[in-house]
Amino acid sequence: MINDNSVKFSTLYKLYSEAKSRGISPQRNALFTKRMHLNSLHKRALKILNAVRTRKSSKFEQVASDDEYNTYLALKWMLETGYRDDGLSKDYDEVLDAAAALLIKRYRDKNVLPLIADLMFSRYREGRYIYDLIWAYFEYDDPESLLYIGKRLQSSNSKDVELACKLLCFIPGICDNKGDSPAQFAKFVDRHDDVKRNIVDNIGDGLLNDNDGDGPAKYAIFMKWFNENKNYLYRTMESFHQFNSPQIYEISLEAKYLCIPVSHKDGKFKRQLTEHEKQCLSAFMNMDDNTKVLLANYSNFLFRQNYYEWNVWIHYPIYEQIRIATAARVGGI
């Protein structure tokens, strides 16, 4: 009897798989649903399970079209109660990945991000497949998602730190060798001594320990970067499907200079610019890249330190702004 609030998706999945292996179609077999005492949530979860297995959104649309809200609840139930049994089978894992992708892409559910991060990191420790989860995770246009990854830099597990470094490689100071070092093969070291021997023979064993012990320092770098830039970050279109060290988020230097938050989706200013801001921006855009970085850093620093002084500074002509910023020279972004 499965009509119980404490029942998990994995239980339903196992019963479903068992019934299928015996030639029973659980969805169409009224006796099955009656005997199992399936409630409406479970029945909908079974429909979703069948739909996502086809790998066609049109099938999922059919399920969602008659009751979008309960379909969302069923998906969420599948992921939240099912993730602890991740690894049950390849098929089961694929269903969890699909549920995660739908919750992020279709339902914009931010609350499942920590859970998806947990899944990514636990699978990585075991050398299991994580790419669809990584893709789904970064489809959510909000830099807050980086926090759940950043905190793994403090983990005592070196695999956690290793994956966090890979995913946050675009942040200065997190990944020194841009992710293409043979040290990445260290992922297999525990299980493949031959690889370890080859790496040590050819490259030296220092690279195998890129992240050993420096996680907390990297976490401090990450948090400083995040707090300074979170309002000015927007998602690029780069992904791990495309190359090995994608810039998942980019800083809008224009926004950082004017201290106006941007849309994380496309980098556009969240509000209309005043005439003075437009003039500032026009002058700023004529500067070379290094000067832009200098001005953006100083502006943001001053804005957070002392709004009154910032307001005076931003009204100076740009060459005066540069002179003051150069004299003060705050740290890099």
Binding site: T54, S57, D194, V195, N202, M237, S239, Q242, N244
Partner: protein
């Protein structure tokens, strides 16, 4: 423009070495007519790059003609005589196996292999290098190989990512992005392709075609109702030819 050991090279002196329709000549023509300066320490460096670019295009064509199949990472397959399939779907070179033989086997016993497009690009690059490097050099330099995707790249391959290149040359890897991909088919989030020259591309699982062919194909795998089309990104991923040349020149 091409600049070798302190001198700009004019087109006639070098271009006539290659047949007019050859990949080398096509790459050379783009370099010579570009406002970008392609600088080399010696002529043999340039010749090495042209040769390897030709080899990349050949490897892509050979893979296309083979029975190497498209499979999701969860379902990849490989010849276990040479490779160990890892839990995440990658192929790890087995101990005691010659790397050059293992790479060549993918092109020979192609029906035993199947994977996604990103891994196919890495295989094309290794397949091109193995045909240019002397066997003993290849085996020494690439003594361990893990074929997965871009996340696991041997630094010695010297793969570079350039966001806004001046030119696109045959043998470059490019990317068609599908921003509104159906969440149930994330493997169609984009297609890695090899530039074959003359506006043609090879993408594993899709075959050979022009840009519109890849865009149209990816558009079929969008989330329902989306009007955001797939498109070709400006960036390129390419081998670091000068770095690789150092192993053989």
């Amino acid at each position: 423009m091409i600049y070798i050991a302190g001198t700009f090279i004019d087109s006639s002196s070098i271009a006539e070495k290659y047949p007019s329709e050859s990949i080398e000549r096509k790459a050379l023509n783009i370099m010579l007519s570009s406002s970008n300066i392609y600088a080399y320490n010696m002529l043999s460096e340039l010749e090495f790059e042209l040769n390897l670019r030709k080899s990349i295009v050949s490897a892509a064509m050979n893979l296309h003609r083979s029975r190497f199949s498209f499979r999701l990472f969860r379902e990849t397959k490989c010849n276990e005589k040479y490779w160990e399939r890892t839990e995440e779907g990658g192929f790890l070179l087995k101990d005691g196996v010659k790397p050059s033989e293992a790479i060549k086997d993918i092109f020979v016993n192609s029906s035993l292999y199947g994977t996604e497009c990103a891994t196919a690009m890495v295989i094309v690059f290794y397949g091109a290098i193995v045909n240019v490097f002397p066997e003993e050099v290849f085996d020494r330099v690439f003594s361990y190989i893990y074929l997965m995707d871009w996340m696991y790249l041997d630094r010695r391959l010297g793969i570079e990512y350039i966001r806004e290149p001046e030119d696109y040359l045959p043998g470059d890897c490019r990317y068609f992005k599908n921003p509104d991909v159906d969440p149930l088919t994330p493997h169609w989030q984009g297609e890695n392709v090899i530039d074959l020259g003359d506006g043609l591309y090879y993408g594993h699982g899709m075959g050979i075609g022009r840009d519109q062919y890849f865009i149209d194909t990816l558009n079929k795998y969008r989330i329902s109702g989306s009007e955001t089309s797939a498109y070709l990104l400006r960036s390129v991923t390419r081998l670091n030819f000068k770095r690789l040349a150092m192993y053989v020149l």
